[in-house]
């Protein structure tokens, strides 16, 4: 908040807009009453179904990450990771790798869970929105790290395959307040879809592991 205000102060001074500077300074900005913010936000969704309305209600982890703006550490981070780890379901057959071709479809599919989607739409993981994966694909996002060569660079290590499964199933079991969705725990993807994405990352034949 302090840096926000000081940066704003400088910007306004540079632009010659001294008139609004004092009024948006930190000391003049009232502390936000969380109940009022909750009410404001619920007021946006009065016309949607109860199922949809529930998605705007924060769970404990969303609440903690919102209040801390993702800057958590120590005991607080440990508590989030322990809670989220408890919701991870490992594959019942003990096999982590599915079909990399299907995994590509999941990684490339941005549909699902939008209010514009028809009922019954199968959701994708939309990995390419944020990550580079196959080095041949030019249309990839940069919000997350590049995953090109992911399995190859890890020598296809079974321990790291298991870690990656947990990361995709629930990113916050690995890193508290990670920006990544909790794909398995939030029921965006099924266990089989996650196994297919893992194969896309770890199969030696996958384009991800080709030059």
């Amino acid at each position: 908040m302090v840096s926000f205000s000081s940066k704003l102060f400088r910007t306004l001074l540079v632009c010659g807009f001294a008139v609004t500077v004092s009024s948006v300074d930190a000391q003049d900005r009232p502390p936000v009453d969380p109940a009022k913010v909750d009410a404001l936000i619920q007021g946006m969704f009065t016309r949607v179904s109860p199922e949809w309305r529930a998605r705007a209600v924060l769970d404990d982890t969303q609440r903690a990450c919102t209040e801390r703006r993702n800057q958590v550490s120590g005991a607080e981070a440990d508590a989030i990771q322990a809670r989220e780890r408890a919701s991870v379901v490992l594959p019942p057959d003990g096999n982590f790798l599915g079909d990399w071709r299907k995994g590509f479809q999941v990684a490339n599919n941005g549909r699902g869970l939008q209010f514009s989607d028809p009922a019954g739409t199968v959701a994708g993981g939309n990995c390419y929105a944020c990550h580079q994966m196959s080095p041949k694909e030019v249309s990839y996002g940069t919000l997350g790290p590049s995953l090109a060569g992911y399995g190859r660079e890890r020598n296809y290590d079974p321990e790291l395959i298991r870690d990656a499964y947990i990361k995709i199933f629930n990113a916050q079991a690995a890193v508290a307040c990670s920006n990544m969705p909790r794909f398995g725990s939030s029921k965006v993807l099924t266990i089989d879809q996650i196994k297919d994405v893992l194969a896309y990352l770890f199969d030696r034949q996958s384009p991800v592991n080709q030059p």
Binding site: F4, K7, L8, T11, L12, V14, C15, G16, F17, V19, T20, S23, V24, D28, R29, P30, P31, V32, P34, K36, V37, L40, I41, G43, M44, F45, T46, R47, V48, W52, R53, R55, A56, V57, L58, T61, Q62, C65, T66, R69, L113, Q114, F115, S116, Y128, A129, C130, V138, S139, Y140, G141, T142, L143, N179, P181, R182, S186, K187, V188
Partner: protein, 276 residues
């Protein structure tokens, strides 16, 4: 004049559509460059199809409607009844008569109901235009925002209610929710990031990126063949965030616009612009 402008705009729109069809098979990178080229070509008041909306809005503003059969010309957008010049640059702001902080859309709906006695249900049903369905709100916002061209975004925070709205907008910007735990900040709090090939403006710090974004809405969206306002942009953001559909002209969207305009303070308004 108006008709001439309309004909030119239609010719430009047809050229734009042909251009877009031609680039579909190429990479998105090339499409972006093509669209940038068309944007430069038709970013001209005589050719930007968004100005058709400005013209329609001008007619709607002066048209007698509602049970009281009067126009909107006595509507006070904050600078005095009927005064349009520079009004958009200072919205959202607090209105004593309504005892609320309102953005332009909320204020227009209020004026329609109070001054014209107009049933806004139909206006709200047509909030976003589509094929064969004009939107009074998009047209009015285009007309009124255009009257702030050349002025700079000047967020109003002198009133306690305005500061409260700003604080709530900032809180909303950082709020993580929905099936994918996304907040606005997930995509818009770091410079130089992109989704696929689409660049993402950083709104976490005040300055150029916020100024260029907020100073260029409403805009003509080439990909939608429609003029869109910030209400539509935020509606689409909520959709992509996997949040529930936000109600049109609800206070949460006003709070977000207040926060974004504070980040964009001093940005020059040039609207309607033209975008992808």
């Amino acid at each position: 004049m108006s008709r001439m402008r309309g004909i030119l705009a239609l010719v430009a729109a047809a050229a734009t559509c042909a251009g877009i069809a031609g680039t579909m098979a190429q990479t998105q990178d090339e499409s972006e460059r093509e669209i940038e080229r068309y944007r430069a070509m038709i970013n001209d008041p005589m050719a930007n199809p968004g100005y058709l909306a400005v013209d329609r809005g001008e007619v709607l503003w002066a048209q007698a409607r509602g049970t009281k059969a009067v126009s909107l010309e006595t509507c006070d957008l904050g600078e005095g009844p009927g005064k349009l010049e520079g009004a958009y640059a200072k919205l959202p702001r607090y209105f004593a008569d309504a005892d609320r902080v309102m953005d332009l859309e909320q204020r227009l709906l209020w004026c329609m109901e109070k001054i014209q006695g107009l049933d806004t249900a139909d206006v709200i049903r047509r909030r976003f235009s589509g094929p064969g369905r004009a939107s009074d709100m998009e047209d009015l916002v285009a007309f009124i925002a255009n009257k702030s061209n050349g002025t700079r975004i000047e967020p109003q925070t002198a009133h306690a209610r305005e500061r409260e709205m700003l604080a709530m907008g900032e809180a909303l910007f950082y709020r993580r929710a929905g099936a994918m735990d996304f907040s606005c900040a997930t995509c818009h709090a770091e410079p130089g990031k992109r989704i696929r090939l689409q660049g993402l403006p950083d709104f976490s710090t005040p300055g150029k990126q916020a100024q260029e974004t907020m100073g260029s809405w409403p805009t003509y969206r080439v990909s939608q063949s429609a003029l869109r306002t910030m209400q539509h942009r935020l509606w689409d953001c909520f959709r992509q965030q996997r949040w529930p559909e936000p109600a049109y002209a609800s206070d949460g969207l006003t709070a977000l616009q207040m926060f974004l305009n504070v980040q964009a303070a001093g940005g020059e308004i040039t609207v309607p612009s033209i975008k992808r």
